[in-house]
């Protein structure tokens, strides 16, 4: 029998996150190991009157392709992929893996080259999303590889995943709706801020956000969710940041990342391990050394760092920033084949965020004088 939490997850994604309307064409993509969730998503989408199409992936084909493809092949962006992107009304991406280190043997330059070639596809995706033409949601299926990275058994990890989506509560959709209202107020509050300053161990970073739009991530584009984010002004990031959690991309882990920014750009980077990879990614293209996103995680049901960005960036009381592509709907103009989220823990040690000189956040919580609403999981 299907775990009832999987049916609930599918229901929330289809009827709350997107939500799907009758006649929508929805592409559901994910690894074959997520069959249970994919099947439930198809059922929920069909009940909603949508036309579902499934695009599964199987283990090992990416490695087989990437390790053999010539530059010419990697540069080829199939025209049909753009046609598809322009035709769908919604997309659900299920993340999951057989082995999160599967692509570690592939030359990073090849991965970067492929990402660069796919840039027009990413741009089209973001434009359609910003124009409200494309509904999308990224969600996760519990799997052994993610559980292992999180240091958990599969059962413990499944509990973590479903708890993070509040799927163990009696009415998850109602809880997310209540939370969404509160989080939207936080985004409104942040809208008047001109400059943010993050102060933590090894970190004193100033980020310009004047005139940019703050988005409340309330379970629409990601599920589980819980963050507020914006696209920083491209030329105003200054200072230093030290990321307490490892930066993870393509199965590679870069530890203790330290970046120094001047006038928006990374001018110095170092890491305890994976430094070459870090620098290679930052040098990928012109926009890769500029922040495309600055965000604060606000899902207080997510506490553990599990090496999956979908969850890690939501940890209540953390902040994260992404090198590379920004979301146009935030006002960001940064374009890149990269979008690399890196998370910094602000839950202890007197870590603070200041807005235009005033402290608004300390040790993982917004200060009541700035924002008094309760951001914990609604009862």
């Amino acid at each position: 029998m299907t775990d009832p939490r999987i049916e609930r997850l599918a229901d929330v994604v289809v009827n709350y996150s997107l939500p799907l309307a009758e006649g929508d064409t929805v592409l559901i993509q994910g690894p074959a190991l997520a069959e249970e969730l994919i099947v439930e998503l198809v059922r929920a989408a069909t009940r909603a009157g949508a036309i579902a199409r499934v695009r599964a992936t199987v283990q090992g084909t990416d490695e087989a392709y990437l390790s053999r493809a010539s530059d010419e092949q990697l540069d080829h962006l199939p025209p049909w992929s753009l046609e598809e992107m322009s035709a769908i009304d919604a997309r659900i991406s299920v993340v999951g893996a057989w082995n999160t280190r599967e692509l570690t043997g592939v030359d990073p330059a090849k991965m970067a080259r492929r990402s660069r070639a796919a840039q027009p596809l990413m741009a089209q995706f973001m434009q359609r999303s910003a124009a409200g033409e494309l509904k999308w949601c990224v969600t996760a299926a519990p799997c052994e590889a993610f559980a292992q990275d999180a240091g958990m058994s599969l059962d413990a990890y499944a509990d973590f995943v479903y708890r993070a989506g509040w799927l163990d509560t009696s009415d998850p959709v109602a809880a997310w709706k209540t939370y969404a209202t509160r989080l939207s107020k936080l985004a409104e509050k942040l809208a008047s801020v001109k400059t943010l300053r993050v102060l933590a161990d090894g970190t004193d970073l100033t980020v310009g956000v004047e005139g940019r739009t703050w988005m409340a991530s309330k379970g629409t584009h990601n599920f589980p969710d819980g963050e507020v984010f914006t696209g920083p002004v491209e030329t105003q990031t200054n200072g230093e940041v030290r990321f307490s959690f490892p930066a993870i991309m393509g199965g590679r882990e870069v530890e203790d990342v330290r970046l120094r920014f001047e006038d928006g750009r990374v001018v110095a980077s170092e890491a305890k391990s994976g430094e070459d990879y870090l620098r290679q990614m930052i040098a990928m293209d012109d926009g890769a050394s500029i922040l495309g996103e600055f965000a604060i995680g606000t899902n207080y049901a997510v506490e553990e760092f599990t090496r999956q960005i979908l969850f890690d960036e939501k940890i209540g009381g953390t902040c994260h920033m992404a090198l590379g592509a920004g979301y146009p709907d935030t006002g960001s103009t940064n374009v890149s084949g990269l979008h690399w989220d890196i998370v910094c823990d602000l839950r202890s040690g007197g870590a603070e965020i200041h807005a235009d000189g005033e402290p608004i956040f300390r040790d993982g919580q917004f200060l009541a004088e700035f924002f008094a609403e309760d951001l914990s999981v609604p009862a």
């Binding site: 006649g23 064409t25 592409l27 559901i28 074959a32 069959e35 994919i38 099947v39 198809v42 059922r43 069909t46 009940r47 009157g49 036309i51 579902a52 199409r53 499934v54 695009r55 599964a56 992936t57 199987v58 283990q59 090992g60 084909t61 087989a64 392709y65 053999r68 493809a69 010539s70 010419e72 092949q73 080829h76 199939p78 025209p79 049909w80 046609e83 598809e84 322009s86 035709a87 769908i88």
Partner: protein, 355 residues
């Protein structure tokens, strides 16, 4: 074999690889070969359960829907490989047969579009089997026995499989040559006396290019002429449905009577799918002597040396066939014990052997 011989993949080709996710090892090997050939893989691994879920409880509009995603799959590839395997050959049992028929009918313009691209030389297609438990179980074998059977049927154990298939191709070409110019074919076997008109139709030599394994010669008969009756010897599963003991009676090319000992309802639904479903789109003779026992898997059964098969529904334009349908259902008749094939009144095969 699939990439070098069957599909002859070259630099710049867009290669659609469509099959169940359980065929993962074959997906990986094909991706390697395709990439090394300088082509672009277009992967479409499927999940049986998701395919069934798409139709279970779907409205008529959902069943009939053709999306851009479906169109891209027939327009974009210059080569297409279909991998046949299942997690469970009865995976569609929860979907009403009229829903399955409606879906097949809706897909028909797409099939026709791809066939037109094939006929124009813009695309090539090959269907192959990946050994799986479900097919092994239907064939009454263990997985390892089934693997041996599948790979032997393709002569993949031979030191040089491509050389074998080139030889087999010559042997089959001689039979196709013999049928060329023949006007009337009569098939006689137990409870079978079927007369088909094949005048001016083109006989194709199926030598491992469109199916792998392969081994048959086939054409599309004149649509309005088939008469008589035929009993199919082997059990079959079609689109996840169990069918056995099929007997058809034809008059003026059309199925006028049908019966089945199992799956009669499904058979009836398929025949009523559209106007072309009651007419034959193919008549063929199996010539793969490595395949001797029926397996409930049409890909193999229709190739058994010494059998013939006819297909209800869609015909092959390249053979001169004009019948169109969302259906193309091959049904196999064993000629190895007392069967005869007559060509314009002359006996050309007896007991499954060409004379």
């Amino acid at each position: 074999m699939l990439c070098r011989y069957s599909l002859e993949i070259g630099p710049g080709d867009t290669v659609l690889i469509d099959g169940p996710a359980l065929a993962q090892p074959l997906f990986v090997e094909v991706v390697k070969a395709v990439t090394e050939a300088g082509a672009h893989p277009m992967l479409r691994p499927r999940l049986d359960r998701a395919d069934a879920a798409l139709l279970e409880g779907a409205s008529d509009a959902q069943v009939a829907a053709i999306t851009k995603l479906d169109e891209v799959e027939v327009e974009a590839p210059t080569r297409a490989l279909t991998i046949w395997a299942n997690t469970n050959t009865r995976y569609m049992s929860g979907v009403p047969s009229e829903t399955q028929a409606a879906r097949a009918a809706a897909m028909r313009p797409l099939f026709e579009r791809f066939l037109a691209r094939e006929a124009a030389g813009d695309a090539r297609w090959c269907g192959t089997a990946f050994p799986c438990h479900a097919a092994a179980q239907d064939a009454g074998m263990s997985l390892s026995e089934w693997e041996d059977f599948v790979y032997r049927a393709g002569h993949l154990d031979d030191p040089d499989p491509i050389a074998f298939w080139r030889e087999q191709s010559k042997r089959q070409a001689a039979i196709a040559e013999r049928f060329t110019g023949v006007r009337e074919i009569r098939i006689l076997a137990e409870d079978t006396d079927l007369v088909l008109d094949v005048a001016d139709r083109i006989w194709d030599n199926a030598d491992g290019h469109k199916n792998f394994p392969d081994g048959e010669v086939y054409t599309s008969p004149v649509e309005s002429a088939t008469r008589g009756h035929i009993a199919f010897s082997f059990d079959a599963t079609y689109m996840g449905n169990d069918v056995a003991g099929v007997r058809l009676t034809f008059d003026g090319g059309r199925v006028v009577e049908h019966e089945a000992t199992r799956g009669a309802d499904f058979l009836g639904r398929m025949l009523d799918m559209d106007a072309g479903a009651r007419y034959l789109g193919e008549v063929a003779f199996g010539m793969n002597d490595e395949i001797q026992v029926p397996t409930r898997d049409t890909l193999f059964d229709e190739k058994i040396g010494g059998t013939c098969h006819v297909a209800l529904g869609m015909a092959f334009p390249e053979c001169g066939g004009t019948n169109t349908s969302g259906l193309h259902w091959d049904l196999v008749c064993d000629l190895r014990r007392g069967g005869e094939i007559h060509a314009d009144g002359e006996v050309v095969a007896r007991d499954g052997r060409f004379l």
